[in-house]
């Protein structure tokens, strides 16, 4: 087990290097550090010395991949790519192009992101699974068919619609909750309720359909027939057998996203004015701040790989047949 995890972590290194390679290439293929410095320092009265200082501070003065002025190994090591991506591997995110400490920014904004993402994830998981079990219990009935039609419709509506309709109904017309904003602690709950509810509702269509198909696949298996033949009630069959055996495909889809919850939701956070990592990313994208974008890409990839490893570990917990 321990050896397996270690091996997976070592495998992750070339993938993360690849991720950095792609980000750096995409950005520097077209953006010169010169332009970035000009854009960040503002247009008026910038001397070449200021640009030079700005570039040196961020390591942008070095060549991207190959340094022709260096000797030996440092032809490839004394470059922008090597210096900057090595820093990322130690989770030293450096300073953004607009002179902010990215590491502390991320720490600060992780809380609000989680405050939205974690409840949404938990409530959605519980609602979707219970609804799916309910539909499987009444499979083939009018309830099942009509709910499936509703699910396709919920799925077909743009997520933006739910957000806008929710804000108009609950905030603007009925004044139940404030339209946007954030506060830490218990007083923040009134800001969180609406985005969480909308997030859960928007995902209900595809979620219920997915879980339902997983359970239906189990329900025709021989072991379920045996359980029924033993005289178990349908509810016992569902919770004791179908749910437990359906756990494996559910884990595959669910565990991998748990670490990524830290990244927050881009759309939710910017609509509801929540100072989390999602809105941080959107701001960085619109102001073309390479420092933040590369940090967020790296963080996102790390969290995704952690999610993959966690998925494998969770298998061993739920399925005794799986050994790592």
């Amino acid at each position: 087990m321990f050896g397996y995890i270690l091996r997976r972590i070592i495998y992750a290194v070339p993938i993360l290097i690849g991720v950095n390679l792609i980000t750096f290439m995409l950005f520097f293929m077209v953006n010169s550090p010169e332009d970035m410095a000009r854009a960040q320092l503002g247009a008026k009265q910038i001397s070449p010395q200021m640009i030079q200082a700005w570039k040196e501070q961020r390591g942008y003065d070095k060549p991207l991949f190959i340094n022709p002025n260096a000797q030996g190994v440092s032809v490839v090591t004394d470059t922008l790519f090597m210096k900057e991506s090595l820093k990322l591997f130690t989770f030293n995110f450096g300073i953004s192009d607009s002179n902010r400490n990215i590491g502390s920014d991320i720490k600060e904004r992780m809380g609000p992101s989680l405050a939205i993402a974690l409840p949404t994830f938990m409530i959605a998981l519980i609602t979707n699974i219970s609804l799916a079990l309910l539909l499987v219990l009444f499979r083939g009935s009018v309830l099942d068919t009509s709910m499936m039609i509703v699910a396709v419709m919920i799925m077909s509506i743009s997520g933006l619609f739910y957000i806008i309709a929710g804000q108009v109904l609950f905030s603007k017309m009925w004044h139940w909750v404030p339209i946007s904003g954030y506060d830490s602690g218990w007083s923040g709950i009134k800001f969180i309720i609406l985005p969480v509810m909308i997030g859960v509702f928007a995902g209900i269509g595809s979620g219920v359909r997915w879980y339902r198909s997983i359970f239906l696949e189990q329900i025709n298996q021989d072991y379920v027939r045996t359980a029924r033949a033993k005289g178990l009630s349908e509810l016992r069959v569902l919770f004791g057998h179908v749910l437990r055996n359906g756990m494996l495909p559910i884990l595959t889809g669910v565990v991998v996203v748990i670490p990524s919850l830290f990244m927050g939701s881009l759309i939710m956070e910017s609509f509801f004015g929540i100072p989390g990592l999602g809105s941080y990313t959107i701001d960085a994208i619109s102001s073309q701040d390479f420092g933040i974008v590369k940090a967020m890409v790296f963080l996102g990839s790390v969290l995704y790989i952690v999610g993959l490893i966690l998925t494998d570990i969770s298998y061993t917990l739920f399925d005794p047949r799986v050994k790592l």
Binding site: I15, I22, V152, S158, G159, L160, I164, K172
Partner: protein, 455 residues
């Protein structure tokens, strides 16, 4: 008059030709015919397909671009000048393009949405609603509606009769009777009803659009109905072209990884794991930002704003394609691994059949259902993604008509009272119908084609 071919036009028409050829080739196989027959036996699938074809029709109509020669002014140079590029759809709705108002107005409204300050003949300053410029004062909407519905019904009837006549091999009367009793093998009645509804609805809206702004106007007075129809092309293009562009890559890499194993497999696995571990929106954003800078640095690539936004759409499709091939590639690799272990492939190998022939004859046909399912499944997701990406600012060009841009602009007016709801409403409804039809069809395709559902 000359035809001018934009990049995306070329792709649309090229792909249409390829699809027709492929469809014609596949239709000669009795198995494939049987499968599609089963798919369309469901009336929901039939109705969805008619709706999708209706959207496709507008896409194609909007993909024929023309330029008209302008009469040279007297004494000026002999060289022929050409007007802006317009599409066939623009020509049909030319009265709406020229009939822009000053600002917002509600659907069927006679006056503007906001009061303006007017000084009347006596010099008194008042606040009142200004009348719209391009709306007729005659109240003939009921007559026009009746005429429009009649015309719509007639047109649909003609189509229906032609199609029944074309299908009837026995007698026209029998076929007609069976169709309307719903006793045909394929649910043609549903198809005819859906088509009649769509055509009648369109003619009704179209006839009224001469006298009113049927779905209102937006901030700068543009007609919302026209914008929604123009957005169809953007949505459909992103939905279809993205998957079709990435298909060859996904198939090539997925099949070679599964078949050749060894270092080829390692490299391809590394490639798609790396790409899929980058958060999707960030990769798209980084790609679109780079592209924007590239386009700003090369202003010679395009002559007009239309060509510019078209190029941007093309790049967006490419970037979306790059980010979305990984999932399909992973599936195809796993399936190829499975198939290449099967007896018939081993037998083919033992007979000395070449690798390429094995791929063509044994592997690709057995992957077809995965490919088809993923194409229809991805379509609706991509149409919805366009709206979100345009909201983040990394979608299509802001000057381009798209549902995402419509939503984005209208969103800012939410705080107004009474609300400016019609832009949002139209964009969401047009998008909802397209995505719902695509989802319903993809459900049916999945049930029929997925071998796991054979029981």
């Amino acid at each position: 008059m000359i035809f001018s071919l934009l990049w995306t036009d070329m792709l649309v028409w090229g792909l249409l030709c390829v699809l027709i050829l492929l469809g014609w080739g596949a239709s000669r196989s009795p198995q494939v015919r049987q499968q599609w027959h089963t798919i369309f036996r469901s009336s929901i699938a039939m109705a969805s397909t008619i709706i999708l074809l209706f959207y496709l029709f507008f896409t194609l109509l909007d993909s024929v671009h023309l330029r008209f020669a302008i009469e040279p002014a007297e004494g000026k140079s002999e060289q022929v000048q050409y007007s802006e590029i317009v599409s066939l759809l623009d020509l049909i709705f030319v009265h709406n393009i020229e009939g822009t108002e000053r600002t917002y107005s509600a659907p069927f409204s006679q006056h503007e949405y906001t009061k303006s300050i007017v000084v009347d003949a006596n010099g008194v300053t008042k606040q009142e609603y200004l009348p719209l410029k391009h709306v007729s004062n005659r109240d003939e909407s009921i007559q026009t509606s009746l005429i429009a519905i009649m015309i719509g019904l007639t047109i649909s009837m003609i189509f229906v009769f032609i199609h029944i006549f074309w299908r009837s091999k026995g007698g026209f009367k029998d076929t007609f009777r069976l169709t309307f009793q719903g006793k045909t093998e394929l649910p043609w009645r549903t198809a005819y009803v859906t088509m009649t509804l769509l055509i009648t609805l369109f003619t009704w809206f179209y006839m009224l659009s001469f006298d009113y702004h049927v779905l209102g106007t937006d901030k700068v007075g543009g007609d919302v109905l026209y914008q929604s129809l123009k957005s169809i092309r953007t949505g459909v293009l992103i939905g279809i072209l993205t998957t079709l562009i990435m298909l060859p890559v996904a198939i090539l890499l997925g099949v070679s990884a599964g078949l050749f194993r060894g270092w080829v497999d390692d490299v391809i696995q590394y490639l798609y794991t790396t790409l899929s571990s980058i958060p999707g929106v960030l990769l798209i954003a980084a790609g679109v930002l780079s592209m924007q800078v590239m386009m700003n640095n090369n202003p010679t690539w395009f002559e007009s704003t239309l060509e510019r936004s078209d190029l941007r759409l093309l790049f967006l499709i490419l970037i979306l394609g790059i980010t979305s091939w990984t999932g399909l590639c992973r599936l195809l690799r796993a399936e190829t691994l499975k198939i290449s272990q099967m007896e018939f492939v081993t037998a083919a190998k033992a007979f000395g059949v070449g690798k390429l022939t094995i791929i063509k004859r044994h592997i690709i046909p057995n992957l077809m259902h995965i490919i088809l399912i993923s194409v229809v499944l991805d379509f609706s997701g991509l149409v919805l993604a366009e709206a979100v990406l345009s909201y983040v600012g990394v979608g299509v060009d802001p000057t381009m008509h798209s549902w995402g841009n419509m939503i984005n602009q209208a969103r800012l007016e939410m705080a107004r009272d009474p609300m400016v709801w019609w832009s949002l409403f139209s964009a969401f409804v047009f998008m909802f119908i397209l995505v719902l039809a695509a989802n319903l069809l993809s459900d049916r395709v999945q049930t029929v084609l997925d071998p796991r559902n054979k029981s």
